[in-house]
């Protein structure tokens, strides 16, 4: 029982972190049609910047400063990079962000080195929040949940209740009309891109000390975030939310499940033994293939529902 509860909570924390990344990606995608491959790279930059900034002014100011810096980087990428390749079509934009991944990857290693950073949980949050049946739940994870919930609320209010949110929503579907009404659509694009990068940076700040801040973190996170966005349906924010939580839960729960496909079909009277590939696939415990599950699920959903969970449109 205690395992289930703690695992659920951990899954929720991870899922919210995924959502923080995936929401920015979805917003950018649905508005500009650009899939930002460098999104996970911004997440990595956020973690590294948070480490450096928190060395000077402490963790909590860094929680604000580092995402803002990431947002500025995002704005710069949009204004000086993406906008220039826009007229060459979507493939060119994709390729551009793809090139950024390389540069950020090596750039981070150039500036901060190859070794993991000593970016730790701040001491004021480094205590067990509560104890459940002997299992501890760290306060920092509670803080992560708090930050991501606040971010979810903040984004929702911004999009639904403010004027700029209205314009953004309108520009998602009818950019020409919004432009004709006298709004500066390219500037809205810049704001959305910067906002998405800001969220990725925020995820980096709180994710950097939850996982490890090292040059491989973008590569580890990137594919999962893309899977989340595809699974939830391209361009759907609510689908993205559900997908993030589902993926977070699945990945954390998979680690503690020690059953295999073989156990599933054993009651039917089949037993598998032998030394071949099929037997290996059938007898491998779920705990070992946890990393594989998101991709397998993505392929499954694409087979039965190519638009994703709540997707409304094809590309």
């Amino acid at each position: 029982m205690e395992v289930v509860l703690i695992t659920l909570l951990n899954g929720l924390v991870y899922g919210m972190l995924l959502f923080m990344l995936a929401s920015g990606l979805t917003l950018i995608f649905s508005m500009m049609g650009v899939l930002n491959f460098a999104h996970a790279s911004i997440y990595m930059i956020g973690a590294y910047l948070a480490y450096t900034v928190s060395k000077f002014v402490g963790f909590f100011p860094a929680l604000i400063i580092a995402p803002i810096l990431c947002g500025l980087i995002g704005a710069a990428i949009e204004v000086w990079g993406l906008r220039r390749v826009h007229h060459n079509g979507h493939i060119a934009e994709l390729l551009f962000t793809f090139g950024l991944v390389f540069i950020v990857q090596r750039g981070v290693q150039m500036v901060w080195g190859m070794l993991p950073m000593a970016y730790r949980v701040p001491p004021s949050l480094d205590f067990p929040l509560f104890t459940l049946y002997g299992g501890n739940f760290p306060a920092y994870r509670g803080f992560m949940l708090l930050v991501s919930a606040a971010m979810l609320l903040g984004t929702w209010v911004l999009l639904k209740k403010t004027r700029i949110g209205l314009i953004i929503q309108a520009a998602l579907t009818h950019p020409q009309m919004v432009s004709a009404l006298g709004h500066n659509v390219p500037r809205v694009f810049t704001i959305v891109f910067a906002g998405g990068c800001l969220l990725a940076g925020l995820a980096g700040v709180i994710g950097g000390n939850y996982q490890t801040t090292e040059p491989g973190m973008a590569d580890a996170m990137g594919p999962i975030v893309f899977v989340v966005v595809v699974f939830g349906g391209l361009g759907s924010l609510s689908g993205c939310f559900i997908a993030s939580i589902v993926m977070g839960l699945i990945q954390t729960i998979a680690v503690v499940v020690n059953y295999s496909l073989n156990d599933l079909i054993r009651p039917l009277g089949f037993t598998i033994s032998g030394d071949n590939l099929l037997a290996e696939i059938l007898t491998v415990p779920v705990a070992r293939i946890g990393a594989l599950l998101p991709f397998a699920m993505m392929i499954l959903i694409l087979l039965f529902r190519p638009r994703g969970l709540l997707g409304t449109r094809d590309t």
Binding site: L35, V85, I103, R106, V111, V284, A296, D314
Partner: protein, 427 residues
């Protein structure tokens, strides 16, 4: 055959002759041996040329941005290791020269399976699905011992003692010629494919998939067929890879190789059939040359790639082709001076950029390795201000100067183009 076609054919023949002759240019007559490094690098070029050409069947010809191309290369490699083992113990009676064909078939098989999932979508969604497929296969390769051998990979021996030409394939040079032969065959087949209705329809779905639908073709089928065939050729490349190295690990199907395929096809020029080959040769040279000298070669490749995306979307071949009307009018010498004028600030910019990148990366990576920095042929102390200042000034001055010169160059270029336009229309 028109004059233009025969000239293109001539270039291809010359390229093949160079590929055949290249190892002998580095032949060491005193020891009577080939240079192992050169033969290894040339073999790698051949493998990468197949990979890049097959990738361009998607990117250039069908407008599909795939991120799992290495999957089919890798599966060809893994399957070939098992084929070699089977051929070695006599259960599979096949000469080594034909093994890559089987590798191609295994690539084709997997590409059909994954093609069913990926070909439903195009553009961005296609890219994301292929990314997922690539990650799925990489994770699976690390996880399952039987076929993939886990982290250690699978090994075999290419000397199976069964050959069409009674060759043993003990030396690298014999394998190199096998690679050249298969590269030429694959390139010819892929070129022929561009002339078939399928190749034409792939172009049509790339340019305007709605219109292609109206003609009565299902773009999904076209995409699927193109995807499957490119998987076939990638599998051939993977098979040759397995024969060359006799070991295949998950590196052969992981994301960096897929990215490499993209870089090679794009930098070489995806709009021209031969572009990817040029890209493969260039990137392999960079990889084995620059990576020996510098830790940060990926930064250079990344910056080169982004510059190409912004300024030269048709790649190096596209740049070359753009000069064709001017060369035909015999006015190349008018461009000579503007080129020199762009080149000088360009070199200055490059000097400053390389300096800054090397200095920064030395501070973190190089210093940890306990080396001293040697830049432009002299030892440099990273902790003094001078090298940083010189590089920064070179970067800024070069950048500003290049902007001015580039504008002047553009004026000359456009003037030439408008002069030549009427001539082109009349012709």
């Amino acid at each position: 055959m028109t004059a233009r076609n025969s000239r293109v054919a001539l270039i291809w023949v010359i390229a093949i002759l160079i590929a055949i002759a290249a190892p002998w240019a580095f032949y060491n007559y005193s020891t009577g041996r080939q240079s192992g490094f050169v033969v290894g690098m040339l073999s790698q070029m051949g493998l990468m040329a197949i990979l890049a050409l097959s990738y361009n069947m998607l990117l250039g010809q069908a407008g599909l941005f795939s991120l799992c191309h290495a999957t089919f290369f890798g599966i060809g490699g893994y399957a070939t290791i098992h084929f070699l083992t089977m051929a070695g113990n006599g259960t599979l009676p096949i000469p080594l020269e034909l093994v890559p064909f089987l590798s191609g078939l295994s690539g084709l098989g997997l590409a059909i399976v994954f093609g069913f999932m990926a070909a439903k979508q195009r553009a961005t969604a296609f890219a994301m699905i292929t990314l997922g497929i690539g990650e799925l296969m990489t994770t699976a390769a690390l996880m399952f011992q039987h076929f993939f051998g886990g982290e250690g990979g699978v090994k075999s021996d290419r000397m199976i003692g069964h050959s069409l030409f009674a060759l043993k394939y003990a030396s690298g040079i014999q394998v190199y010629y096998l690679i050249v032969a298969w590269t030429v065959i694959s390139a010819l087949a892929m070129f022929y494919l561009t002339r078939t209705p399928l190749g034409r329809m792939a172009n049509a779905t790339r340019d305007n998939f709605e219109r292609a639908q109206f003609i009565g073709y299902d773009p999904r089928t076209v995409r699927l067929m193109q995807f499957a065939l490119s998987g076939f050729f990638a599998g051939i490349g993977g098979g040759l890879y397995a024969i060359t190295y006799e070991i295949v690990t998950f590196d052969a199907l992981a994301a960096p190789l897929s990215a490499n395929a993209l870089l090679m096809a794009y930098i070489g020029g995806s709009a021209v059939f031969g572009g990817p080959v040029l890209g493969a040769v260039l990137i392999t040279l960079l990889q084995s040359g620059v990576s020996l000298m510098s830790n940060s070669w990926l930064v250079y490749v990344g910056v080169l790639f982004i510059c190409m995306v912004i300024f030269a979307p048709n790649g190096i071949m596209g740049l070359v082709m753009a000069h064709q009307p001017i060369a035909r009018a015999g006015k190349m010498r008018l461009l000579l001076l503007p080129y020199v004028r762009v080149l000088i600030p360009g070199l200055l910019l490059l000097f400053g950029f390389v300096g800054l990148v090397e200095l920064t990366s030395f501070l973190t990576i190089g210093a940890a390795q306990g080396k001293s920095l040697v830049l432009y042929g002299r030892k440099i102390d990273v902790n003094t201000v001078m090298p940083w200042a010189i590089s920064a000034v070179a970067l800024l001055v070069g950048g500003a100067w290049l902007r001015i010169e580039a504008r002047a160059f553009q004026r000359v270029w456009e003037k030439l183009m408008t002069e030549l336009m009427p001539a082109r229309v009349a012709a």
